[in-house]
């Protein structure tokens, strides 16, 4: 404005006043524009603040994406928006959130950032922004409205927040991956059949898995916070004292213990032999120390090993003794000029010993069959009387059939058993009775029905089994002391084999006193009746897996 303008516009008015008015108007405009500018800056600042707040609020990629895309669409004044996010270790970007209207369908997946750029290349209705190119890449698309332009101020805010958004999405992906990994690891720990117990630096339990709860008989919630010695009961179970705690050792050393056997207190309060692996979580600066023990119940393994060792020792002893005899007799014949009758005597002894050896080997083979997993039974319906009749036929050769008294209940239903194996049981038990009861005392075989079972009994008038040894003689190689003293030869395997074969049929075998109170033994065992109690005998044998099988019982 010049003085001349004022004069020419409004002649006759005080030019100074006019000038002042003009200046005032200019100042007002300036003030107005500064005010508007300040308002826009405040708006932008607030928008930025709101965006940051959303970004900082965390959540899953999908949650974050949904919140951010609504905010960006509002900021830019767009009609709609979409966010694609990459995933670490996998190519391509996936649509994680979308809102509002788009002219056409958006692809659910983008091969890469270049594909995203291509998508928007020739389109006026789509504004694309690549937030981050690094893995995981993130891309935003905004639907440009047809009736108005996008809000430049808002776009600027979004542009400024680009890196913040990209790192927020990267963080969300990372959190998601960590959470998934944590979950999977948790599943592994919870699903383990070994006890997994984790303690802090002061050896207070911080984690106990379900297997641990079960084996130790304590709930994790009750165990947490207590000392490891208290929860595991290593000392009372005779495992180790406080001074030899493997967890204390790994906490102190920072190393690991690959294998150490000790004992813990089981759910019933009884000691359980365990083999443990111990390790300390890698300590990072400022991180909390965690030591973990993975404990496996090895009491069954230990018992089995002991049994096997005993078995091998006994078998080799049982084999070696008769072998030494055979060798001795043979050497005697070889080195001495013996009369024919004496030679014959030695040969007869050799014959006797080898037949004992033969039956021992047969029984050992039986046991290996019993330990086959699973034991296959050839079951067929058969009358118990038929099995007894067959046995009587076998005994006719030796004349022992005279001592056998059969006392079966009338009309016994057929049993469902492996005929060969139950025949062996009967032969074994009756053979035992004949062996340990002096001739000509009778052996009584009886049978009756008890529910779905046939209950068979074999009574003799022999030396009997001392009460304390009745369960032991059912274990391999165990012979009662009175039998050992009697010098009647035996392997100690017969009753064990019988018990296992009966149990393979789900039956039970036990040794007791005679019911009439006379000296001697009653062996009882149960066998399954044919399910539908059909009297028909015969039919095709069925192959079934034995109900009880597997390792030698501990």
């Amino acid at each position: 404005m010049t003085e001349g303008d004022g004069e020419s516009d409004r002649p006759g008015v005080d030019p100074e006043l006019d000038q002042l008015r003009t200046r005032l108007a200019a100042l007002e405009r300036e003030y107005r524009s500064a005010f508007d500018q300040a308002q826009r800056e405040a708006d932008a600042l607030f928008a930025q603040y709101q965006l940051s707040q959303l970004v900082a609020s965390g959540g899953s990629p999908a949650e974050l994406g949904r919140a951010v895309i609504v905010e960006l669409v509002r900021l830019a004044g767009a009609d709609g928006g979409a966010i694609w996010l990459g995933e670490t270790g996998r190519p391509g970007l996936g649509l994680i959130a979308r809102t509002g209207e788009f002219a056409d369908q958006l692809p659910a997946d983008l091969a890469d950032v270049a594909a995203a750029r291509e998508l928007a290349a020739d389109r006026q209705d789509l504004r694309l922004a690549v937030l981050g190119e690094d893995v995981p890449a993130s891309v935003v698309a905004l639907a440009v409205p047809t009736d108005r332009p996008l809000d430049d101020d808002g776009l600027r805010v979004a542009q400024l927040a680009r890196h913040e958004l990209a790192s927020a999405f990267g963080g969300a992906r990372l959190r998601e991956a960590l959470e998934r990994e944590r979950h999977e690891l948790g599943e592994v720990v919870d699903g383990a059949t070994d006890v997994i117990v984790q303690v802090d630096e002061a050896r207070r339990v911080v984690r106990l898995n379900p297997a641990g709860e079960r084996i130790l008989g304590i709930e994790a919630a009750a165990a947490i916070g207590r000392s490891c010695g208290d929860v595991l009961g290593c000392a009372v179970a005779g495992g180790h004292g406080e001074d030899h705690c493997p967890l204390a050792e790994v906490i102190a050393s920072g190393g690991a213990i690959g294998y150490r056997e000790t004992a813990v207190r089981g759910a019933q309060g009884t000691p359980i032999r365990i083999a443990g692996g111990y390790s300390r979580a890698p300590s990072h600066p400022g991180g909390q120390i965690r030591a973990t023990a993975i404990l496996r119940d090895i009491s069954a393994v230990r018992a089995l090993e002991q049994l096997r060792e005993g078995f091998v020792a006994t078998v080799s002893h049982e084999l070696r003794t008769p072998l030494a005899l055979v060798r001795g007799y043979a050497e005697t014949i070889l080195h001495f000029e013996l009369p024919a009758e004496e030679q014959r005597e030695y040969v007869e002894r050799i014959h006797g010993v080898t037949s004992r050896l033969g039956s021992l080997v047969d029984q050992i083979l039986d046991i290996t069959h019993l330990d086959a997993d699973p034991l296959i039974l050839e079951r067929a319906p058969v009358a118990f009387a038929a099995l007894v009749a067959r046995l009587r036929g076998d005994l006719e050769i030796s004349g022992d059939d005279a001592r056998l008294i059969v006392d079966l209940a009338p009309d016994l239903p057929p049993i469902d058993v492996d005929i060969v194996r139950i025949g062996r049981v009967l032969e074994n038990l009756v053979g035992n009775a004949l062996k340990y009861a002096p001739a000509p005392t009778p052996i009584v075989v009886g049978a009756s029905v008890d529910g779905d079972w046939l209950l068979a009994t074999i009574d003799d008038e022999g030396v009997g089994v001392p009460e304390a040894e009745r369960s032991l003689v059912l274990e391999p190689f165990h012979r009662a002391w009175n039998v050992r003293e009697s010098r009647i030869p035996g392997t100690g395997l017969g009753l064990y084999i019988c018990r296992r074969l009966v149990e393979a049929h789900s039956g039970r075998l036990s040794i007791g006193d005679r019911p009439d109170g006379r000296p001697g033994t009653r062996v009882s065992f149960s066998l399954p009746l044919v399910a539908d109690r059909r009297r028909a005998i015969g039919g095709r044998p069925r192959r079934t897996q034995a109900a009880s099988h597997g390792a030698v019982r501990g």
Binding site: A47, S57, E63, A67, V70, L75
Partner: protein, 281 residues
């Protein structure tokens, strides 16, 4: 009676800005000249309970309560100051409830933030000269809120107060028409700053209906007090309407559809402020 309502003792009720229906309508003067109060009819609910810290989160906001209004016009600086002090007290009283509402949809600090802000406002009032005109008073309050209230609500409420203050200009005594325009300016400013519209589940859902109701009541020839009563009624309806809404702004965005079914803490705090400004305590 709705079982969800928690009954308050006489003591608590006495501190409520929203006395139970049927309670004595009274006048209270902070000046020498005579005043009167307006009784808002309370038709449907016989006894409405005020907002309070123990109220279940799903409780309806008190509706149709009888509010003795201190909404006499013209509004001058001393009466505005008195109103702002009432706001401070009301916000303090409802802080815990607001924070609990915010814990559902936001980050759980709304009540405490506002409480801090309006305490700062009370301190500000003591600093400002007695002859500070209402407009300048409101702008100063707005700036103080922006500076002291954490979260998004500080800038939003601050903007509303500043815009109202601008509209008031240098006027010493605010008439009903001007108050209507100020309320509208506050709502417009808040909508612009927050980039929100009606139905986004925000403060605006309370403020805009209140402003419009006030303006319309005045345009229809109503007195300042009638207009205020209409504004509070509209504000309540607005708050209640936020419950089924899915949030479109703010931290509640994270929840998506799950934000439906809860009152918006901002909408509720706006009602608390409006009632305190218009009413008596």
């Amino acid at each position: 009676m709705d079982a969800r309502w928690i009954r308050l003792g006489a003591d608590s009720a006495a501190h409520s800005p929203l006395p139970a229906a049927g309670s004595a309508v009274y006048t209270r003067s902070i000046e020498t000249r005579p005043r009167f109060a307006v009784s808002v009819p309370s038709p449907s609910r016989a006894t409405e309970r005020p907002l309070n810290a123990e109220a279940p989160l799903n409780a309806e906001v008190p509706l149709n309560a009888e509010v003795p209004l201190d909404a006499e016009v013209p509004l001058d600086a001393p009466r505005l100051r008195a109103g702002l002090v009432r706001v401070r007290r009301a916000v303090d009283r409802h802080a815990a409830y607001l924070t609990r509402l915010d814990a559902v949809l936001g980050d759980g600090d709304h009540g405490d933030n506002l409480s801090t802000g309006f305490r700062a406002v009370e301190e500000l009032l003591a600093e400002l000269p007695d002859d500070t005109p209402p407009g300048e008073l409101l702008r100063a309050v707005g700036h103080r809120l922006v500076a002291t209230v954490g979260g998004a609500s500080g800038p939003l409420y601050g903007t509303a107060f500043i815009e109202a203050g601008f509209r008031a200009g240098e006027t010493a005594e605010l008439g009903p028409e001007l108050i209507g325009e100020m309320l509208m300016a506050a709502a417009e400013g808040l909508a612009r700053r927050g980039r929100c519209t009606l139905g986004d589940k925000t403060i605006l859902d309370t403020l805009r209906p209140a402003a419009e109701a006030y303006r319309d009541a005045v345009a229809g020839g109503g007195s300042g007090s009638t207009a205020a009563a209409a504004a509070i009624a509209a504000a309540r309806a607005g708050v209640r309407a936020t419950r089924p809404l899915v949030a479109k702004r703010g931290l509640a965005l994270r929840l998506g559809e799950r934000s439906a079914g809860h009152l918006d803490p901002g909408a509720v705090s706006c009602l608390v402020i409006l009632v305190a400004l218009a009413g008596d305590d």
